[in-house]
């Protein structure tokens, strides 16, 4: 049955985005807020706001019992978890099911399975999705050379019990891998009391490419194309775009087919994203993981496809089949998103809470701003630092970059430092304009250049 009243179990821009999407479908909304977010934009726009608890997320947004009881007590028949917080914790859909509330997302068992890296890899392998070429256990230096020759250099020797970079050695040829075996094994033994090693191909220049999927739980799955999220700092995405132009069409088609095969093989329900590493030199993609939620960067996909992904999520959670066929989904132009964070780029990206004293947002053709912020808004110290997403669309990448550059120049925020200054430097960099960057580019090139960022 279609949803009549939706509980929004999130905050910030995504809570507002979900409220707007629900209103567009004639669904009533109740937003669960912490005491710090009572005056937030989502709480004001929703039909109702329910106070979950005090500011710290552990006592409000991160307490699944509290959230589901609030949804139940306010008469909601569905719950949207947004991203982050409880969105990929299986306990939330389990509690929803116990209380007869439809969860806007996959089944809890699916969330558990995808959250377990080994199980997710096994699922991908069974569906014929390419994984990073690797070995089983390696028992000797001679075997390390044989496997390295087979996989192709450079390779990464890794400790089975590993983590944190210990017991990891990069080898560029057969001699290095033989020499590296003893070193990595000794390190692994010292660090984990287990010297067992295995090997994976090392990708020195990778792009992060991900496919937006939507399934209705019966095996019907469509994709909405891919996104390139290679501008990252410490594995956090800062700029995302669609489509990924760094990839030949043939590889793109294989990527889409692999992602759809994976989701279809497990009868995936609702929105999900299959993440891949793209090896630029070899023109190969390798599966990383599936995120079982709507993602921060979904707007770039909406801008190039014209579909509202959050509304489609709500329709599927209400029991509908997919509203679109694959052939209905046609990509048009290019979209780029910048995450605007309340962080001090000059001081090591330290997040800065506070009051927004000036907020002049860019407007114009092809510009979309997803934000919960306006002048006078308070950024509480309890949650993440993202205060908005600036998205632009153009007929091609060059037009999108030009629009983004102009939009960033007209975006004035005062009261807290933001990453707008960094984005201005990124979009003007020759490597960004030429689309030749990779996942370590921001740290190794742009930020390594020193004081290129100024307010």
């Amino acid at each position: 049955m279609a949803i009549t009243r939706l509980f929004v179990a999130n905050r910030g821009e995504i809570a507002l985005r979900i409220v707007k999407a629900a209103k567009g479908l004639g669904i009533e909304t109740v937003v669960g807020v912490s005491e710090a977010d009572i005056g937030s934009a989502a709480a004001r726009l929703a039909d109702r706001a329910v106070v979950l608890g005090p500011g710290p997320a552990a006592k409000s947004y991160l307490d699944p019992r509290l959230v589901v009881h609030a949804a139940k007590a306010s008469g909601c028949d569905a719950l949207h978890p947004g991203y982050g917080f409880l969105s990929e914790r299986a306990i939330l859909p389990r509690l929803c099911a116990e209380h007869g509330i439809a969860f806007v997302g996959p089944e809890p068992d699916m969330i558990d399975a995808l959250g377990d890296k080994l199980r997710a890899r096994a699922m991908a392998k069974a569906a014929g999705v390419p994984l990073v070429p690797g070995s089983d256990e390696i028992k000797s230096a001679a075997e390390a050379r044989r496997e390295g020759d087979r996989i192709g250099y450079p390779v990464l020797l890794k400790a089975s019990a590993g983590g944190g970079g210990r017991g990891m050695v990069i080898a560029h040829d057969g001699d290095e891998v033989e020499a590296g075996f003893a070193k990595a094994s000794a390190e692994a033994l010292a660090a984990f009391n287990d010297g067992t090693l295995f090997m994976e191909r090392f990708v020195p220049q990778a792009r992060h490419v991900e496919v937006q999927l939507m399934g209705d739980g019966t095996g019907n799955v469509v994709h909405f194309g891919e996104r390139d999220c290679s501008v990252q700092r410490r594995y956090q995405k800062l700029v995302e775009e669609a489509p990924c132009l760094a990839m030949p069409d043939k590889v793109r088609k294989e990527l889409h087919a692999a992602a759809v095969a994976l989701a279809s093989s497990v009868k995936y329900r609702n929105a999900g994203t299959a993440e891949f590493l793209y090896d630029v030199a070899r023109e190969e993609v390798y599966f990383i993981e599936v995120n079982a939620r709507i993602q921060v960067e979904h707007p770039v996909t909406e801008m190039v496809t014209g579909f509202d992904l959050v509304q489609e999520q709500l329709r599927i959670a209400g029991g509908s089949k997919l509203s679109v066929k694959q052939s209905d989904i046609v990509l048009s132009g290019h979209a780029i998103e910048c995450r605007i964070n309340a962080e001090d780029v000059q001081r090591g990206f330290v997040p800065v809470p506070g009051k927004i004293t000036r907020w002049e947002a860019p407007q114009g053709e092809g510009i979309r701003l997803d934000t919960h912020i306006s002048e006078g808004a308070e950024i509480p110290p309890f949650y993440d630092s993202m205060i908005g997403k600036l998205i632009v669309h153009g007929k091609d990448r060059a037009e999108a970059v030009a629009r983004l550059t102009a939009a960033l120049d007209h975006f004035i925020v005062e009261g807290v430092p933001t990453t707008i200054s960094l984005h201005r430097a990124i979009v003007r960099h020759p490597d960004f304009i030429a689309n030749t960057f990779h996942t370590r580019w921001l740290e190794q090139v742009l930020l390594a250049d020193g004081a290129v960022i100024s307010e």
């Binding site: 709480a43 106070v51 019992r65 509290l66 139940k72 110290p381 630092s385």
Partner: protein
């Protein structure tokens, strides 16, 4: 409904819970429900209130000022102890920025330092977290912890004194 669970089962469960290092345990079976938490003011323990107290579901009019929130939580911004004694030759260790003060690396694990702990410049004293960024605060001096000025989970201001360390 047969009451198949004996008190001794519950006692055993509580004992195992305490030894497990888990923060919370919620058991529900055959009309029996048990919720255990290591945190006395855990939000989950107030669940009954949420269900039965209509005031919690506070409607917020789109135009009007937001309805007052029921404040059920203990004040998280506890005042700094008034009786701060600063012996000669002591150092004050301060918060690097506004954030939440944590005395242990994760909930339930032992504290980094206690009153009386010997510290070196590299000793980690606490974590301060703002917007998911955790910073370990180091002692910066050799000495002994004389006083701890903030409580676990408290919101602290930038440069707020956190520890008094008597230099060695």
């Amino acid at each position: 409904m047969t009451n198949s669970r004996k008190i001794s089962d519950v006692e055993q469960l509580i004992e195992e819970f305490q030894q497990s290092g888990m923060r919370e345990l919620h058991v529900r079976a055959d009309g029996f429900e048990l919720y255990l938490s290591t945190n006395g003011d855990d939000a989950g323990l107030g669940v009954e209130q949420v269900v039965t107290t209509p005031a919690v579901v506070a409607p917020v009019a789109a135009s009007a000022a937001p309805a007052a929130a029921p404040v059920s939580a203990p004040a998280s911004a506890a005042p700094v102890a008034a009786d701060v004694t600063i012996p000669d030759g002591s150092e004050i260790i301060r918060a690097p920025y506004l954030g939440t003060f944590y005395r242990s690396p994760k909930p339930g694990s032992p504290v980094y330092v206690d009153v009386g702990s010997e510290v070196t410049p590299e000793t980690e004293m606490c974590l301060v977290e703002v917007m998911k960024l955790f910073t370990a605060v180091r002692a910066g001096v050799n000495g002994r912890v004389h006083q701890i000025l903030a409580t676990d989970g408290q919101m602290v201001q930038a440069d707020q004194p956190l520890f008094v360390v008597v230099a060695a």
